[in-house]
């Protein structure tokens, strides 16, 4: 990590990576539909993911309506409720957050931020999106098959996931598993692109330790996903065989309706291990890009370099590595050797150390910064607060003795919605408000944005804070209705109704955002090349929005890291990454 200035050895080194010959589309279809341009693919990914997100949002409304006002909505019976729970969870985690952060932001930002013309394998990148879309279509198809989608819970635990008592046992579960398998194949094509582009296709001068933290976050998350999704693939294949062929990988000897099934000898715990070996890294696959994005938003909008850049990078890598050895903390109640419980509790709590480093560094970046409370900044600040809140309850749940009583209560629901629901979504909104001007050339409307922010931020707390309290009282999760429970007072129902009303309000407020995105595309204020006066490379493109090939004739050359804000003695309060070290003013040649 020696940061050697490029000019030390007499002029620029020759490019190690020859300029690529890009595929140049000729028709409208190859330009905008079957496009090989990472930026178009990014928008396709984002649009698809956000549409699924809206659907998953509606599903959460339906669940909340049932919980808040039980037995008013006759169409939400127990079967439907479990289907909503399952589809909401799986959609949000895999098809929305993973696809949006890696497929959406990854595709758009990686080539621009590292100074590449495109991803290294544009054709595979295109296939990645179309396989993702196919996976989404298969998933949605399960709403229209006999028996409806699966209601096994988003964790799809066998044996119940494929037994006849579970909704969607006939078709839904199979479509879900097939959809996941296709998603993973598609993601692998994209993920290889993201990783190789970062490792092998950077601009001259863009050493790894000069990359913006956004790229670090997305890169690490992509790499983790390439290693974590295999476990889910294997689990999905094996469960599909259990369901279709009658194998007994996960199925023990079972009696159903007084009848001894032909299954026997399998291990249900095995699926839990496979699922969570994917499932826990998945949390950080969603969180690390958010960390990276928030680091950049804070630095840009506080006009200060990110505090402890190297520590931030190492913290991202440490979190990524540690997240592969903590998975069984999701399985404390499944029963395990106490020594394993000890190991997994310890490794879980150790993750708090690099995470705390990141939080402190964000706060120290803000400290005495020239803070501009722009929309991206508001969302970034909200992210930090929310992530701390969600992270602290994670410390509760990481301890075996505390987790056992809290397991399967609303406390868990509140915890993971704070930490990997609300927090990443806030980062996504911040990122959209931040990079929308680069994507479209226009600013998003400020007033609408502020309305959206305050309702979303405060509303999310009004939804999920009371849920912690419900959980501490022992209100169980995944119950279609509470019924008579001696330990749950009547007032809990009032709280549930309140949460439901807030969920409806927050969900509706998202329409303001979508309206803003569409309206600003046509009527928004023109943004210019660099409305936030940011130093990182994606704001230095010769044209906004960047055209095919990103950089015009000459590839950029990078002379500094991405965080030269408020440098003493500099002419302006930011120095773009591609401005030479020599103190002459930037000319067009530098572009």
């Amino acid at each position: 990590m020696v940061d050697v200035p490029l000019d030390t050895f007499g002029g620029l080194p020759p490019p190690e990576v020859p300029d690529v010959d890009l595929y140049h589309p000729k028709s409208w279809v190859t330009k905008y539909v079957f496009s090989q341009d990472a930026k178009v693919i990014a928008i396709q990914y984002s649009a698809t993911a956000m549409s699924i997100g809206l659907l998953a949002l509606v599903l959460s409304w339906l669940m909340r309506l049932q919980l808040g006002f039980p037995s008013i909505f006759s169409f939400i019976d127990a079967t439907a409720y479990y289907q909503f729970v399952t589809m909401h969870g799986m959609m949000m985690v895999v098809y929305v957050l993973t696809a949006l952060f890696l497929g959406g932001f990854g595709n758009y930002l990686i080539p621009l931020m590292v100074g590449a013309r495109d991803m290294v394998f544009p054709y595979a990148n295109m296939l990645s999106y179309w396989l993702y879309l196919l996976a989404v279509v298969i998933l949605l198809a399960s709403f229209f098959v006999p028996g409806g989608p699966t209601g096994a819970g988003w964790t799809l635990y066998p044996p119940q996931a494929i037994l006849s008592g579970t909704p969607g046992r006939d078709w839904g579960i199979m479509l879900m598993l097939i959809s996941l398998i296709i998603f993973i194949i598609g993601f692998t094509m994209g993920g290889l692109n993201y990783v190789v582009t970062v490792l092998q296709a950077r601009a001259r001068g863009m050493t790894l330790m000069r990359m913006p933290l956004t790229v670090w976050g997305i890169f690490t998350a992509s790499f983790m996903a390439l290693l974590a999704f295999p476990a889910l693939l294997v689990g999905a294949v094996m469960m599909l065989f259990d369901r279709l062929l009658g194998t007994s990988f996960f199925m023990p000897s079972l009696v159903e309706m007084g009848e001894h099934l032909s299954y026997g000898g399998g291990s249900p715990i095995l699926f839990q291990h496979l699922f969570w070996f994917f499932g826990h890294p998945e949390v950080y696959i969603v969180a690390l890009p958010a960390f990276g994005i928030v680091s950049d938003l804070i630095s840009v909008h506080a006009r200060k370099n990110i505090f402890g850049y190297r520590m931030m990078v190492w913290a991202i890598l440490a979190i990524g590595a540690l997240s592969f050895v903590v998975w069984a903390h999701h399985m404390y109640v499944s029963g395990m050797n106490p020594y394993f419980g000890f190991f997994f509790a310890t490794s879980t709590l150790i993750i708090a150390v690099p995470t705390a480093i990141k939080i402190y560094n964000w706060v120290l970046t803000l400290w005495r910064g020239n803070i501009r409370l722009t929309l991206p900044m508001l969302f970034a600040l909200a992210f930090i607060v929310t992530f701390i809140n969600g992270g602290l309850t994670g410390l509760f749940l990481g301890n075996v003795v505390v987790d056992v009583p809290l397991s399967d209560t609303m406390f868990v629901v509140a915890h993971f919605h704070m930490v990997m629901g609300v927090a990443p979504v806030l980062a996504i909104f911040g990122a959209i408000y931040h990079w929308y001007p680069k994507v479209t050339g226009r600013m998003l409307d400020e007033t609408l944005g502020r309305i959206h922010f305050w309702i979303t931020f405060l509303g999310a707390y009004l939804i999920f804070f009371p849920m912690h309290y419900l959980g501490l009282m022992g209100v169980p999760r995944r119950y279609h209705e509470m019924g008579e429970m001696a330990f749950v007072p009547q007032s809990a129902q009032t709280l549930n109704a309140f949460i439901t009303v807030m969920a409806l309000i927050v969900g509706t407020a998202q329409m303001v955002f979508f309206f803003n995105v569409v309206w600003s595309y046509f009527k928004g204020k023109p943004a210019g090349h660099n409305p936030w006066e940011a130093a990182s490379l994606e704001w230095q493109t010769p044209e906004t929005p960047p055209p095919h090939g990103n950089w015009g004739r000459e590839l950029p050359v990078v002379y500094r890291w991405a965080y030269d804000y408020s440098v003493p003695g500099a002419a302006s309060d930011f120095v773009p990454q591609n401005q030479p070290v020599a103190s002459r003013p930037a000319s067009d040649e530098d572009r």
Partner: protein
């Protein structure tokens, strides 16, 4: 690959030793892995991901083998053949393993001749590799047929734990699929070499990228990986 780093740029930076050197190399300009092309880097990382898939399959198989309460069939008896009145345990698997490992040898020779740009030899060796791979898949099909005739199904078998058939068909099937895809791509690569597409840098049909003899090496990486995985399957499934 030519080494064309920092030749024209005056004094090279002082080499750092030990871990510092490793870190400095990895975090150096433009490329983390010097002289590694995009395609090769992609294949290595893909193989790492694929390693996780096969590891999960094998670990899952070991778990079910240990968790089932019914005795596990004896593989050396199950996979025995009687040839000319002689009872030979594991003989087919031994031949299959020999064929597959040999194909790794021919593949390595193909890569070598590819870099010497000896078009005919490269194509012939690629074809030979593909034939050996196809022979492997053929023998696997024979083995599957034999076991199915003897009553082995994914959900049951005559000798013991149901999971024997499940794990056998799943793991060898997944590996066989890898070999089959390998054979298909070997044939495609052999055809391209034979037609001289790498010599005149013809553009790919789908990707429109220029062809290059390096494709042979990338193909080779995949093929050696598939062989290596087989060694583990052989050890854990047939010899255990």
């Amino acid at each position: 690959m030519l080494n064309r780093t920092r030749v024209q740029s005056g004094e090279p930076p002082k080499a750092l030793v030990g871990w510092q050197g490793v870190a400095a190399d990895l975090s150096s300009d433009q490329r983390a892995f010097k002289n590694v092309s995009w395609g090769k880097a992609m294949m290595w990382i893909f193989l790492l991901s694929d390693t996780f898939i096969f590891s999960c399959f094998l670990i899952a198989y070991m778990t079910v083998r240990m968790s089932t309460t019914v005795p596990w069939p004896n593989p050396s008896e199950v996979f025995a053949l009687t040839i000319g009145g002689v009872h030979l345990p594991l003989i087919l698997i031994a031949i299959m393993t020999f064929v597959l490992i040999s194909s790794s040898g021919t593949m390595a020779m193909a890569v070598n001749f590819g870099y010497r740009r000896e078009r005919v030899k490269t194509a012939a060796l690629l074809m030979l590799t593909a034939i050996l791979g196809a022979a492997f898949v053929g023998m696997q099909a024979f083995e599957w047929t034999k076991l199915i005739h003897e009553g082995v199904r994914p959900w049951s078998n005559p000798w013991g734990a149901h999971q024997f058939g499940s794990a056998f068909f799943m793991i060898t099937g997944f590996h066989g699929t890898h070999v089959t895809f390998g054979v298909i791509f070997l044939l495609i690569t052999a055809r391209k070499v034979w037609r001289g597409e790498f010599d005149r840098e013809a553009r790919g049909f789908f990707t429109t990228r220029k062809g290059n003899y390096e494709s042979v090496e990338i193909m080779g990486l995949y093929w050696h990986f598939v062989d290596l995985v087989w060694v583990f399957i052989f050890a854990f499934f047939y010899l255990w």
